[in-house]
């Protein structure tokens, strides 16, 4: 494997130097030479989508297929005393009933929180926790029989909120974690922030709350499991992470992974909701093993709300010290996450509520405290922006307040304080290219900001915000030295190229990225590239569609594989044309002498020549990010090969009689590095804006507790498409999208992510626009009419949380920033563990 620290994607500059980009007329700028890259071409999987022929997981059916239904807990927290399955088993058509006994081994997406069972073993932790599964000849029979499964519970007290979790140590929802019902508490100090705040000209302190919300992909999760004729247990499932499902299934089913095949068909949206391995996938597989028949489960919409893994509700306390010139001297974030009933990605989510705070504006000292609690609600996890929209909302609103106090234009302030390219942040993140300033300038210009901000009159306002996101996480979920993504190419004599990769197409267009990059390098049409993805038996591992990693990581692997194929062909063609290898060009389906483009052959002939010369033409490429400079415990969350940047201006009209906020228009600019397909990029940006507006205005994963004297119930308030409010076609404002292209050396042909970043500036820009319109602060999302009216009527002209509860923080790790003599290590790490133990013991004392 090549040194992962060396970016191997060709930058345009290196392309010009070594002839690695397709042929073009001399003197033509690199951008114009691309044949498929950057073109608004129809995506390779469009035909299946517009004809309805794309087979999503629930579209798969097999002869003799059985249907499975889950029995889910109807109590929020209880010990399971017994499960009587006899009545269900006695029903006509029922083939099997499974319970937790069949799945003694736990699993979970993170190695540090293997806390789920495919079916609950001894206790249930939220309403909707799967307890048993019924397998029958048709789904209605399975459903009817599922209602006959009798579960006896011994109820336990419930934890409904993080505040309650901090207060109530017993009963514990889980027996692991940082004590009581605390899942994880972390503390990191990058420089002495209290001293910085003490020396600041002024300190702004705010509390924010970001409500939880869910992904709501239109496709409900579905799984078909069967025993393949190849002897493999095959699990076709709507999963964004077939590789991690592969590992979890092998572990829980106690089968060699080589005898399990995971297929991830294209998905009807994911947004992070299908990135955990789920119990129902493993149970369906077990049912197929037991019955010897294909077993299908398709979740109802309500069950999708129970799978959740969505945005954590987060309470934030933020303090920022500012000096006379308006510069930040120190910034402090405390976050309290409502994790729900299981770990999921929660430890990473906790770190993410602090990790990217530093990558937009210069912040010489930074302190982070994060705490995730367990509650008796569906588990939270990663949703588009994973853990970062919440602190981003707080930071961008706080900056608006700081600028108000400074009398500064908040757009100008952001531009002046933007971090520098090729720099390190206080928390040791390596920043490479930055498009933040041009993003801000673009939305300022497009929205007429300078002549309209603070000048639109009562009821109408403009707000601005900016943000940044990862282009893939720097580290894999489980520790290993292997690539994060691999691509394998097979070049056929016909001139067709098959690209194999384990990546999962969730709708974002990753199949198209693969085809475009391979086609561009080899100078062929994208339709001559057949992509085979989302199948652990057919392609090298790609870690999955999460953390906006696929374009960059799979893309770099694809480019490497294609370059190697190109070399094989060039060698053979150079020999035939009797020119130097460097003089062989690729383009328009031909391989030719760049000095005399008429001398050459078709791409298919070139493949045949290479095959004759050196045997079957197949190549591989892989990608692993470079190591990050942070060395402290917790430094694994935040590093990325590149960061994308976004900025947005939102215009609102606020009705002061009702508090209703109408978003009139959104201008959004995104630092894309290079757009591989502008139509798809636009779709990702507008889709992100859509989801950001939903979170800003109405989406809420809210829960309801019945009066405790009458009931122990703790239920999801709105587990339906109708009552979980998401914007429909008439609710969406006009969006003007602007791309900032500045090729990123670490990205394939310079590309960065676009699937998540543009969501981030939207909620704070809405909040800031509401302030511009009516001069009230709503320091939480969603910004509902109720909250706007309450703010209008409050003396403080504000709505939002007022305090942050006491959290038993561990002793902070002290990591000096690069400019304070640090080396990326924590200087107090050795004694830290013992000290934490002492603190735990003290916390446990009555």
């Amino acid at each position: 494997m090549a040194d992962p620290r060396e970016p191997r994607a060709p930058s345009p500059a290196s392309g010009r130097a070594n002839g690695n980009v397709p042929a073009r007329a001399a003197g033509e700028p690199a951008e114009r030479s691309f044949q498929v890259l950057g073109k608004p071409l129809r995506r390779v999987d469009a035909l299946g989508k517009v004809t309805g022929e794309t087979r999503f997981a629930d579209d798969l059916a097999m002869p003799g297929m059985l249907y499975m239904k889950l029995v889910r807990s109807t109590v929020p927290h209880a010990r399971i005393l017994g499960i009587d399955t006899r009545k269900a088993l006695a029903q006509d058509g029922v083939r099997a009933v499974l319970t937790g006994e069949s799945f003694p081994l736990p699993f979970g997406i993170l190695p540090v929180s293997q806390d789920e069972h495919a079916l609950c073993l001894d206790k249930v932790r939220f309403v909707g926790d799967p307890v048993a599964a019924v397998v029958a000849t048709d789904e209605l029979t399975a459903e009817e029989a599922a209602r006959l499964v009798e579960v006896r519970y011994e109820p336990l007290a419930t934890i409904g909120s993080p505040e309650e979790a901090l207060r109530v140590a017993e009963p514990r929802i889980h027996s692991y974690g940082d004590g009581g019902n605390l899942h994880k508490a972390v503390a990191l100090d990058f420089g002495d922030v209290p001293a910085a705040l003490a020396g600041a000209d002024f300190v702004v302190e705010d509390h924010f709350f970001y409500q939880g919300n869910t992904h709501l992909p239109l496709e409900q999760h579905a799984t078909l499991a069967y025993l393949g004729t190849d002897g493999r247990l095959t699990i076709a499932s709507s999963t964004q992470t077939p590789h991690y499902l592969h590992r979890a299934a092998a572990k829980v089913l106690e089968l060699p992974a080589s005898r399990i095949r995971i297929i991830a068909p294209p998905q009807g949206g994911g947004f992070g909701g299908k990135t955990d391995p789920f119990g129902h996938e493993i149970v369906a597989a077990k049912a197929a093993l037991i019955t010897g028949r294909p077993v299908k489960i398709a979740l109802t919409r309500e069950e999708v709300f129970y799978c959740h893994r969505g945005r954590h509700p987060v309470l934030l306390r933020m303090r920022t010290g500012v000096d006379r010139s308006g510069r930040i001297v120190g910034h402090s974030v405390e976050s309290l996450l409502d994790g729900g009933a299981y770990g999921s990605y929660g430890v990473a989510s906790t770190f993410y509520t602090g990790a990217l705070e530093t990558v937009t504006y210069q912040m010489p000292r930074y302190q982070f405290r994060g705490c995730r609690t367990f509650t008796n609600k569906p588990p939270c996890g990663p949703k588009r922006g994973h853990g970062t929209p919440q602190p981003r909302f707080g930071l961008e609103v706080q900056i608006d307040k700081i600028c108000e106090r400074l009398g500064r234009d908040p757009a100008d302030w952001r531009i002046e304080n933007a971090v520098a390219p090729d720099s390190l942040t206080a928390n040791w993140l390596k920043i490479r290219t930055i498009g933040l300033v041009p993003c801000l300038q673009a939305v300022v210009e497009a929205s007429g900001w300078k002549s309209r901000f603070r000048k639109l009159g009562r009821g109408r306002g403009l707000g601005i915000a900016a943000s940044s996101y990862l282009c893939g996480a720097g580290l894999p979920i489980y520790w290993n030295q292997m690539p994060h993504s691999g691509v394998q190419l097979l070049l056929d004599r016909s001139g067709s190229v098959t690209a194999f990769c384990g990546a999962s197409e969730v709708g974002q267009g990753s199949d198209n990225v693969l085809a475009v990059l391979v086609a561009e390098v080899l100078g062929i049409d994208i339709l001559d590239v057949k992509v085979v993805t989302g199948d652990t038996a057919l392609g090298p591992v790609d870690l999955g569609s999460y953390s906006s990693r696929v374009t960059l990581m799979m893309g770099n692997a694809a480019v490497e594989a294609a370059q190697r194929a190109r070399e094989r062909l060039a060698e053979a063609v150079a020999e035939r044309l009797d020119v130097a290898v460097e003089h062989v060009g690729f383009g328009r389906g031909r391989v030719f002498d760049v000095g005399d483009p008429d001398r050459g052959m078709s791409f298919a002939d070139a493949v045949q020549l290479a095959e004759a010369k050196g045997g079957t033409v197949g190549t591989v490429g892989s990608y692993r990010p470079a190591k990050s400079p942070g060395r402290f415990k917790g430094a694994g969350v935040g590093p990325s090969p590149s960061y994308s940047y976004s900025a947005a201006v939102v215009e609102v009209e606020v009705d002061e009689q009702t508090g209703i906020v109408h978003v009139e228009k959104v201008w959004v600019a995104h630092d894309i590095g290079r757009a591989l397909n502008p139509v798809l990029v636009r779709g990702q940006i507008e889709g992100s804006v859509y989801m950001g507006l939903g979170e800003a205005l109405m989406e809420e994963q809210a829960f309801r507790r019945l009066p405790p004297r009458l009931s122990r119930a703790l239920v999801h308030q709105t587990p339906s498409m109708l009552e979980y409010k998401s914007l429909a076609s008439r609710d969406m404002p006009e969006v003007e999208s602007i791309l900032i292209e500045n090729p990123e050396p670490n990205g394939p042909f310079g590309a960065k992510e676009v699937g998540q970043g543009p969501l981030l500036p939207i909620p704070p820009a809405v909040a800031n626009a509401v302030y511009d319109a009516i001069r009230v602060r709503v320091d939480e999302v969603p910004i509902t009419p109720e909250k706007v009216l309450a703010a209008l009527r409050s003396p403080a002209r504000r709505y939002g949380p007022a305090s942050f509860p006491h959290v038993p923080w561990p002793e902070p790790l002290i990591v000096p920033p690069p400019w304070e003599g640090g080396d990326g290590n924590a200087i107090n790490e050795p004694g830290w563990r013992e000290q934490r133990e002492r603190q735990r013991e003290e916390a446990a004392k009555p």
């Binding site: 608004p40 129809r42 995506r43 999987d45 469009a46 035909l47 299946g48 989508k49 517009v50 004809t51 309805g52 022929e53 087979r55 629930d58 579209d59 059916a61 992904h215 992909p217 239109l218 496709e219 998905q267 009807g268 949206g269 109802t300 919409r301 531009i415 390219p421 090729d422 290219t433 498009g435 041009p438 300038q441 969730v506 709708g507 974002q508 267009g509 600019a669 502008p678 139509v679 779709g683 940006i685 507008e686 889709g687 859509y690 989801m691 339906s720 498409m721 109708l722 998401s726 429909a728 076609s729 008439r730 969406m732 006009e734 969006v735 999208s737 602007i738 791309l739 292209e741 500045n742």
Partner: protein
Amino acid sequence: MNAPLVPLTVAPREKLRLAFTVNEEARDVVVASYKTLLEVLREDLGLTGTKHGCELGECGACAVILDGELVLSCLVAAMECQGRCTTTVEGLREGPRLHPLQDAFADHGAAQCGYGTPGMLLAAKSLLERTPDPSRDQIAEALSGQICRCTGYAQIFDAVAAAARMMRGEPAPAPHLPSVQRGGSDGRPT
């Protein structure tokens, strides 16, 4: 019980023999009597192009055209389809040629994950049959029963408007692209 004069009666556990027209072809199937049109299309006829996102009439993914009207197949009992005509996404294209709406959806990025696309296409077809030159507002209204979580709708509106033009015999418009500005890291004011 006095047996009333009822021509069609299906008891709970009986199978239903359903003869109807799907995409201009006569179909005759025996199905479980509790099934909806959605279930019959997907499970008994193998026409999985029709999707489902809630089965309660709250998302629009299962929309099909039934006797010329856009309906939600999840809320139509199979028994109510006897002798009727339905069009699903599989019936849109004419032979190898895509329907202009399908071409436009493909070219304008209107199908992202593609899961809601069949319902969107049929809702759009239903609109264009009555309103060949719809305004942006009419398009938004016609699609107001179809939830899309991917696109933010704008590219779908573009595609419907483009298809309308194609169906009126006008040239197909190019997809609307974001404006592009070069520059970045070094674009900071100096």
